[in-house]
């Protein structure tokens, strides 16, 4: 078996007074899209910075491409778009991209050529000789994207890549990212937008409070989590419905949205018993379906649990 593209072994990072990441292990197989999910302050950015050797872990070890070299030694093979991204405002767009390419080890000539073709591809061909400060924010983000991808890295790490983009540009960027993954390269990106992760990712890792909550291929996570998930839509008698959903013998957790709900059955409870209870409560069921849980519900369930001491030990 080939070495995983990203491998982190019990990495820990402490800052003055608090532990940002605690004994986090992570394996990202080659090819495809991998999501790093977590609420704000979970330690996503710190984790990414450690993977790239921008920060050195206090404990533990990181290996990229199965090699001993650090993220910086291997930076030719890695594209990185940080969450806090910026450009030199007074530089010309083309010069800027070419410089970023050179920093990645491309020759000057090659860097300029690639920069040009990427700017064309992203619809910025007319702007190559303009100053960065003349560009709109959306255009600047495209330039930053190009900067992370132009040297055709095998591993692309994106920290919150779609935040602050309008829906159209967000879609353009997602298409680009999916293209990269389809070409057999690996994309690791952090996000807190579950719909993006659910639609795009092959695998995810969810972290909370600096610790890993769950990770693996998305399908497996859902399978393990979601044997007993039921999606409901009901049309009347909401109070009675809520009473049923509050029964801890039947329902472990309910993601209640008024006239619809996604519920997780209690251990040992059968979907049949829930159905019977709901029919008896006369809620006017229009949907009752045993489903795979959405990433959103997994996320909320897991991250909510992470606060519990029992869960912390498990993680």
């Amino acid at each position: 078996m080939t070495a995983p593209v990203v491998f982190a072994d019990r990495i820990t990072k402490r800052f003055a007074g608090h532990t940002a990441v605690r004994s986090l292990s992570l394996t990202v197989p080659g090819g495809g899209l991998y999501g790093l999910l977590g609420p704000n302050g979970a330690g996503k950015t710190t984790t990414i910075r450690m993977l790239l050797n921008i920060l050195t872990p206090d404990e533990g070890r990181v290996a990229l491409f199965g090699s001993e070299g650090t993220g910086r030694d291997l930076s030719e093979r890695i594209g990185y778009l940080p969450e806090e991204r910026g450009l030199y405002p007074k530089m010309k767009v083309l010069d800027q991209l070419a410089f970023l390419g050179e920093a990645k080890g491309l020759s000057r000539w090659d860097a300029r050529k690639r920069a040009k073709s990427w700017l064309e591809r992203l619809g910025l061909g007319e702007w190559t000789l303009r100053k960065v400060s003349d560009l709109s924010k959306g255009m600047q983000q495209k330039v930053q994207f190009a900067g992370a991808l132009q040297h055709e890295p095998e591993l692309v790490i994106l920290d919150e890549p779609f935040s602050g983009l309008d829906p159209v540009n967000s879609q353009v960027m997602r298409d680009v990212v999916v293209d990269v993954a389809r070409s057999g390269r690996t994309v690791l990106f952090s996000t807190h937008i579950m719909e993006h992760a659910e639609k795009m990712c092959d695998g995810v890792v969810i972290i909370a409070r600096g610790e890993k909550v769950v990770d693996g291929p998305l399908a497996r996570i859902k399978r393990e989590f979601g044997k007993s998930h039921v999606a409901l839509v009901f049309s009347r008698n909401q109070v009675a419905a809520e009473r049923v959903l509050a029964d801890r013998n039947l329902v472990a957790h309910a993601d209640d949205a008024g006239a619809s709900a996604e519920v997780e059955l209690a251990t040992g409870a059968e979907p049949d018993s829930l159905l019977r209870a709901l029919v008896e409560a006369d809620v006017g069921l229009s949907r009752f379906e045993v489903v795979e849980p959405s990433l959103q519900s997994i996320f909320i369930a897991k991250v909510g649990d992470a606060a519990q001491p029992a869960m912390r030990q498990e993680a």
Binding site: L52, I54, P89
Partner: protein, 443 residues
């Protein structure tokens, strides 16, 4: 290595392209040239010939002798150069004939009026018996603020009156001539047992000039490094860069890039000032005009020995690296340029102390203070070239001083690098000293 080159090239090209660089590089020498040459123009070309009325109220046989001597000496004073050279004064001699006050007042009424009669004098000089006996002469005129005119008047009157006094004491003509010989103090600097051809003024000018250049350049380019670091931080581009480059590569590239811009700028300034001085010669200094009247020789541009240029360059580079590393560390601690401008005070103070100390050094270039300051690495880059300019020391001492700076450069760079590495990714509040120490010790 190629990555460092890319950083250097970017830093250099982007800087050289800015308007402020072009303005600073080409306008500054022009301004200096202008400011140097303008006073000269004003003091020479624009000088009108002054009309002076001499009222002769000296009594006795000697009356005419004194007055004629004064008139002759006044007429001999020249102003301007080359074809424009002319007498500084036109002189009208009036005997007082006992009506001194009346004459004086009538002349004063014509002086300094906006629409005076044509040919009105600029001043009136009154010679009385007291002028000979007590040395009292009064001059009433519109040009008393002209330092040149007053200096000449004094210079001309003194010997004439002294001569008269000696004559009245029946001095022998040989004694008379002997006593009239002017004093010319020809101070000439000796270094390493040989004459340098520099007088007091030019060796002071050389040392002062060298220290000023060191002071300005260290401050100017050090602050530029600091600003560049803060800007990279506030633009948030630094994290992308730091994923591909080590903090050290980035820091080194930045410092070398700014340093290269500095050398180019200094080169252009140096070349243009050389050109300007060779074009106008020593006339470029307006002060020369005044000095020329008082002393036998005019101020000459000091000759700059080649070894001195070498020493200045060596210590400029060492000092630049030393201070740039400090400024970069300061920059990396701050989030905004304004914050950095306040935080850099301790570093700027060190350069200023080095600069201030040179006045002591010029007086006593080989004294205890000079020797001590030479080996305090933060002062060495300014102190050493100044000392060398006044009194060159042996190669050993220069090398020791350089070594001293190199060693502290290594220590400072290491420390600054550690701070920079953490600082560029830290936003918000400036760190306390304790936190800084934590940064230095982080893995």
């Amino acid at each position: 290595m190629n990555k460092i080159l890319a950083v250097i090239r970017r830093e250099f090209i982007e800087r050289v392209r800015t308007k402020s660089f072009l303005l600073g590089t080409f306008l500054l020498p022009l301004m200096i040239g202008l400011f140097g040459y303008l006073p000269h123009l004003l003091l020479t070309r624009e000088t009108n010939t002054r009309g002076v009325v001499v009222i002769n109220a000296v009594e006795g046989d000697a009356a005419d002798r004194v007055a004629e001597g004064v008139v002759k000496a006044l007429l001999a004073s020249r102003v301007g150069e080359g074809e424009l050279a002319r007498s500084r004064f036109t002189v009208t001699l009036l005997p007082a004939d006992g009506r001194m006050e009346e004459l004086r007042d009538s002349i004063i009424r014509t002086i300094g009026r906006r629409q005076g009669p044509p040919g009105a004098p600029d001043g009136v000089l009154i010679l009385t018996e007291a002028s000979v006996t007590e040395g009292k002469v009064s001059y009433l005129g519109s040009n008393v603020t002209s330092i040149g005119d007053m200096k000449v008047l004094g210079g001309v009157l003194g010997p004439v009156l002294s001569e008269e006094r000696l004559l009245r004491a029946n001095a022998d003509s040989a004694i008379l001539r002997a006593s009239m010989i002017k004093l010319v103090l020809d101070a000439n600097k000796v270094t390493e047992g040989r004459l340098t051809g520099q007088d007091t003024e030019s060796s002071f000018a050389l040392a002062y000039g060298v220290s000023l250049i060191m002071y300005i350049t260290l401050l100017l380019y050090g602050i530029q490094v600091m600003t560049a670091v803060v800007e990279e931080k506030s633009n948030r581009i630094v994290e992308v860069l730091i994923s591909s480059l080590t903090p050290f590569q980035l820091l080194l590239g930045k410092i070398i890039g700014v340093g290269a811009v500095g050398l180019v700028q200094l080169g252009i300034w140096g070349a243009s000032s050389f050109y300007l001085t060779s074009m106008f010669g020593s006339r470029a200094s307006g002060m020369e005009n005044l000095a020329a009247e008082g002393t036998a020789r005019s101020f000459t541009m000091p000759e700059v020995p080649v070894e001195l240029v070498g020493v200045v360059l060596l210590f400029f580079l060492l000092g630049f690296f030393l201070y740039s590393a400090l400024y970069a560390a300061i920059g990396s601690m701050c989030t905004t340029t304004q914050e950095a401008q306040q935080a850099n005070t301790p570093v700027t103070m060190m350069i200023a102390v080095g600069m201030i100390s040179i006045f002591g050094l010029i007086n006593e270039p080989s004294g205890t203070m000079a020797r001590v300051m030479t080996f305090i690495p933060f002062f060495t880059p300014i102190v050493m070239p100044v000392r060398y300019a006044i009194a060159p020391m042996g190669a050993l001492e220069v090398l020791l001083a350089a070594l001293d700076v190199v060693l502290s450069l290594l220590a400072v760079t290491w420390l600054a690098g550690r701070i920079y590495r953490v600082g560029i990714l830290s936003y918000g509040k400036k760190p306390s000293v304790k936190e800084l120490w934590g940064w230095v010790r982080t893995r």
